[in-house]
Every structure is written in C-alpha cells, then in structure tokens.
C-alpha cells in the first residue's frame, strides 16, 4: 500500500527520525495558519501518490504566510501531471506545508527488501535528490549497502559504517546515527517494503533532516497495522480498484478494451498475454483468487463490465479449489442483473467443468464457450474487432 509523504513523515517522527516542522493543509486558510505557526519561509508540497512532483508544479516556495495562502489557492484542486501519474494526472487535495530548509548537502538513505539476499538492505549514497536507480546504473560505487541480519535488526557498526561513508562528522555524525537507526526501526515497525529518504539533507546548521520521505507498506502485513491501514487514501486509487478491493478481488485497470476475469494471478497475467498475442488489448488484470464465493464472482463480473472501455469479456477459469459451477452461477447471476450486452467468451476447465458448462448453456444468455486459452483469446478478440 502506498501512503502520502506526510503520513510517511509522521511514522518516521514516531521513530525519532528528524522531519521538518510542518502540517497538512486542505484549504488556503489552513496553509496560511500553518505558515504563521512556522514563522519562516515555507515550502508547499502537493500530497499525491506520485513522484516527480516538483517538475509538474506540485512543490512551491512561499516567503510569507500571505504568499503561502495564495500559492495554496493555486495548488489545491489543480491537476498535477508528472511522469508517474499518467497523462490524466492527479487532483491535488492536500498540501504539506513545511519549513523551508537551507540544505548544505543532499544525501540518499533507503531501506528495501532485497529478494536475492533475502534480507532488508539499507542503502546510502552521497548522491541525493536524484533518482537512485540512475545513480545505481551510472555510479554504483557511490551506493553503500548494509544487509540487515533479520533476527538482530540493524547493528550499531553498520549504522556507523554508513554514517562515515556519507562523510558525516561531529554533531552531524551523532544525529546521522540516530537517523539511520530510526529509519530502519520505522521500516521494520511499519512492515514496509520500501522506506526511502531522498533527499536526506544536512542543513547549514549541521542538522540531519528527512526533506522528503516515501514509505510503501507490505500489503500482507496490514492485518497487524490497523493504524496504517487507516491511512489508505481511496481518492488516490481508481474507483473500480477500490470497489474490487471490497470483495478481496485483485483488479488492476489497464488501457485496452478486452476485459478479463481469471482465477490465479499467474494465469491472469498469462491470459492478458494471450489476448495481446491474439491481436487484442487487455482492459484489466482481474484475479478472483482461490477462496472465492458466488457473490464475489458476480461482483467481479459487474466490476469488469462496468468499465466503459470494455467491449468484450473473457472469463478464463482453471478450477482447482474454485469450482467451475460456482463461477458459472456467479456469472449468470451478474449477467442477468446487468443485462450485459457485450460479448462474453467463457473458457472453463478443471473441477466440475461439465456442470459449469451446463449452467452457462442452460442460462439462455449468449455466452460463447471456448476450449483452451488460445481459442478463447481468438474468439474474444474477434468479438471486439
């Protein structure tokens, strides 16, 4: 799950990571009030789930509270387009208003799960404020890594090594150690999959501060973090994806016109692939999962066809735990209720396949049956064209 910068900073703050003074504002007046409280020039930062905000006008400076209010008026409600939002952009609803800091140096510090070593790795670099992937590709010697022992957590010497390699000295070094340790504890405590401070700044006064912060949470761990789950911002997600998540369906909207509904993530991806292979474009990824109920199937079908871009649908089920008759009943129910007009191609295989096919055939609805994935994909693509 993605969370906003201000939410990430709140989490970091509770672990002793130093963050700029500031607060969230949803109105120009509130932005002014926050700026007054800070009492020095501020920076206003659009809170959307996307990077590259600065280039799109989503980060602006204000010298006075009056200016902060004016800037906020321009920013709230604006559509912010960055390289990560897609062409349609994202509507700005909230601003983070923070003290503007004079940075002496910009560094990078991040923690991520490394699959290859099966450990959390903490990475530091003297090259902050730019994309770390770019640094990794061009100047890999400027990235310092420490692999965290899973049962011990980050060890003292590891934090010291990183702090020295970042060139921290004196009081700044002491703050840096606290910062590094705090970031790791926040990563582990929040069950993050990524916790990134880019840039981490050393101010002219020598303080170590998280100027920006990004934390992604492991979805599998949300059951033990109700406080973080409450940070979910539905406004940042596509409405159909929000609807799908209510029924524990994995749905990702894509830009094609062939809707698909499949059981199992791998088969769902393969179904998208074979649609493309047959000359079509998938409109979505939709995995109904293993423990699906008839109602969830009906809802999946409803969500699938309520996407205006969908011109035909392919249902591809390989019954294992999921029984084909249950899927068939759910689909028939939803198709009747919605009076679906688009062509629907159904490929059933596995547990109770004959019963499932019978239910579809006897429904009186115009489903097209298909044998095998190839035939199913070709039929649905033919129906669109």
């Amino acid at each position: 799950m993605k969370i906003h910068e201000y939410q990430a900073k709140r989490i970091l703050g509770t672990y002793g990571v130093r963050i700029p003074r500031g607060d969230i504002a949803e109105t120009p007046e509130a932005a002014r009030a926050v700026a007054e409280g800070i009492g020095s020039p501020v920076v206003l930062k659009a809170q959307v789930h996307a990077g590259g905000r600065g280039k799109g006008g989503g980060i602006r400076l204000a010298d006075t509270p009056q200016e902060a209010e004016r800037r906020a008026r321009e920013m709230i409600g604006m559509t912010l387009v960055t390289h990560q939002t897609g062409a349609e952009g994202k509507t700005v609803r909230k601003l983070l208003v923070e003290e503007a800091l004079a940075a002496d140096r910009e560094l990078y510090l991040g923690v991520v799960v490394d699959r290859a070593s099966e450990a959390a790795v903490i990475m530091a670099s003297t090259e902050g404020g730019v994309e770390i992937e770019k640094v990794a590709a061009e100047r890999p010697e400027l990235i310092f890594k420490e692999y965290v022992p899973p049962w011990n957590g980050l060890l003292g010497f590891q934090a010291r090594k990183l702090a020295f390699r970042l060139g921290l000295r004196g009081e700044t070094y002491k703050q840096g150690l606290k910062f590094i340790a705090g970031l790791y504890r926040a990563f582990e405590g929040a069950d993050a999959s990524l916790a990134e401070i880019n840039p981490l700044v050393i101010t002219r006064a020598g303080d170590v501060v998280a100027l920006d912060a990004k934390i992604n949470i492991d979805d599998n761990a949300l059951f033990r973090h109700p406080d973080i789950l409450a940070m979910r911002d539905l406004g940042e997600e596509s409405p159909l994806e929000v609807e799908a998540s209510k029924y524990n369906l994995n749905y990702v909207k894509l830009d094609g016109n062939v809707g698909c509904m499949v059981n199992g993530a791998g088969l769902a991806m393969a179904t998208m692939d074979i649609i493309k292979y047959a000359g079509g474009r998938p409109a979505n990824f939709l995995d109904v999962g293993g423990g699906v109920t008839e109602d969830a199937v009906a809802n999946a079908f409803r969500i699938l066809v309520s996407d205006k871009d969908v011109k035909a649908a392919l249902i591809n089920i390989f019954g294992g735990i999921v029984r084909c008759d249950l899927i068939a009943n759910g689909v028939v129910k939803a198709a009747r209720e919605m009076r679906t007009k688009i062509p629907v191609v159904v490929r059933l295989e596995g547990t109770n396949v004959d019963l499932g096919k019978k239910i579809l055939a006897e429904s009186g609805l115009a489903f097209q049956a298909a044998d095998g994935m190839k035939e199913a994909a070709e039929k649905v693509v033919a129906a669109v064209n």
Partner: protein
C-alpha cells in the same frame, strides 16, 4: 521416479481441523497421499479424518514418523508454523498459506539456514509426484505419472501447463509450485539440481512471471550446469511497471523484472521459450523431438 516426495512420504497436516485443512486433507487422502497425522494446538488427542491430532509437530514426528508437512494456518501464524516444522526435523515443508508478511518470511529463511528442511512456498499450490503423493491443493486428476518436471511460481497457470503436458501424451515426474511471494523457500536452482539428479526426469518446464530476478539466475544456472531440455514461459508480458499483479512478488520495480528481460535470459541459456501460454505443451513436444 520423482523428487522430494514419493509413495513413502509420511505427511502431517498443520491446521488439519480448520476448514481449508479439512477440505484439502480429504482431497489428499483421496489421491492416495499417506497423511499420518494432524497438528492443531490444544486439540491434541482427538482424531480427525481418521488420523491422530497432536498439539505440536514434534509429537507428530515422534509418534507417526511424519517427514513432510502441509501448512494450512492463517497468515499471522504461518511463519511460526514453518519454523516449528523445521525445528521438529520435518524434511519437506509445504506452506500453502497466502499472505504471510515479507519480513516474517525473511526471518523464516534465516531460521532455516543450517537446518536440513526444504521449504516449498509459501503461497504455493504445493508439490505432486503423480500417482504417488500430492501435498497441496492442486486438482489431482489433471496429472499423469511421467518424465517431465515442472517448476512454477504460479498456481492455476501450473495446472494449465500440467494439462497441456498430459494432453501431449507426457506425464510429470514431479510438479512443484515455488510460490508467488517475494521470499520463498526452494527456488528454481535448488529444484533444477534435484531434477538434474533424478534419472527419470527427461525434461523440465519452468514457468516464471514478472518481478525479481529468480528466472535470470536460473537461466545462468541452466546455461552452465543443466544438460536436460528446458521449456520456459514467463507470464506478465503485458503487465505495466509499478503495479502489483496479484502475487506480491509480481511487480516490475525500477525497470527490473520485466518479462522481456527474463525471456531473453532464458533464450540465451538455450531454453525453449513458449511465447504464448497455450504453446507450452507443443513447445515441449518440439524440444523433445
């Protein structure tokens, strides 16, 4: 022949009294798997589905000689269940549970280091040596005994491959789902080694998906040390970057882990790569002719 499990394997079911545990234990028993015990804490002493239930895995191992386990416990307790099985000396641990936090799995993997247990999963359909032993949730009837080994990160896509292999007139020596999570137990390379050393496995089908670099590492191993024919398929050729496609492990991050990169690595290693998921069986036939 087969790898890891066969008709001598004695299975304990962790979470046997739960809904899923009960349902799938029955399916495994029907298939002929030797389920010798169950474990549900505080329910020790009862009998369920004809087998004795114990409080701990260690007791099940001691009393019934269990050497493999299947785990059907909720995500919050599954990491602990894996470690309990390893501590009891269970040789093959199959964790079906989906949704275990990644940081828990990192601890589990560290715990398993230096122990003799092999972990399959989590978030896996399990392992099956057709006609001998099924530990998992896959539909039994689509399988047939034979000489093709299957390794896959997916569930239902594995069934698809199995069915195509069976329809082509081949069968499977063993089919293993390694699991769809970022951190899993046995991965491609460990399993390829087992298939290499199994005289009755003639060829291997390897089904991967976007995310991570496990397929690239496997390709490197195949090029250097795997003499048998390999057929590969990578799901997610049309997946956009940055979006989790169902499996926690299936996400293209920082431009890494795309299907195109993985397919290219496999091809360069001499793997017969099927472009379409419908061509896995026919690609195998060509590879073996």
């Amino acid at each position: 022949m087969s790898i890891l499990v066969d008709n001598g394997t004695r299975v304990v079911i962790q979470g046997i009294t739960g809904g899923e545990g009960t349902f799938h234990t029955q399916r495994m028993q029907e298939y002929g798997t030797r389920v010798v015990a169950g474990v549900t804490p505080a329910k020790g002493g009862m009998k369920h589905l004809g087998v004795p239930v114990f409080n701990t895995v260690a007791e099940a191992v001691r009393a019934e000689g269990a050497d493999a386990s299947a785990i059907f416990v909720p995500p919050s307790a599954a990491a602990d269940a894996i470690m309990e099985a390893a501590d009891a000396g269970v040789r093959v641990i199959v964790c079906i549970t989906e949704g275990i936090p990644t940081l828990d799995m990192i601890k589990v993997k560290a715990f398993l280091r230096g122990r003799a247990s092999s972990l399959i999963g989590p978030n896996t359909p399990g392992i099956i040596s057709p006609g001998q032993c099924k530990i998992g949730i896959m539909p039994g009837p689509i399988h047939a005994p034979g000489t093709v080994g299957i390794i896959s990160r997916s569930g239902t896509l594995t069934y698809e491959a199995v069915e195509q292999v069976t329809k082509q007139g081949f069968g499977q020596s063993t089919a293993v789902g390694i699991g769809g999570d970022p951190i899993v137990g046995l991965k491609y390379i460990e399993l390829l080694k087992l298939f290499r050393d199994d005289p009755d496995t003639e060829a291997v089908i390897m089904i991967g998906e976007i995310g991570g670099t496990a397929e690239e590492e496997a390709a490197d191993f195949i090029r250097r040390e795997f003499p048998k024919p390999v057929v590969g398929f990578i799901a997610g050729q049309t997946a956009p970057p940055g979006r989790r496609m169902g499996h926690a492990g299936a996400i293209i991050a920082g431009g890494k882990g795309t299907a195109a990169e993985k397919m290219e690595s496999l091809r360069a290693a001499g793997v017969h790569v099927a472009l379409s998921p419908a061509e896995i069986g026919t690609t195998l036939r060509q590879a073996l002719s």
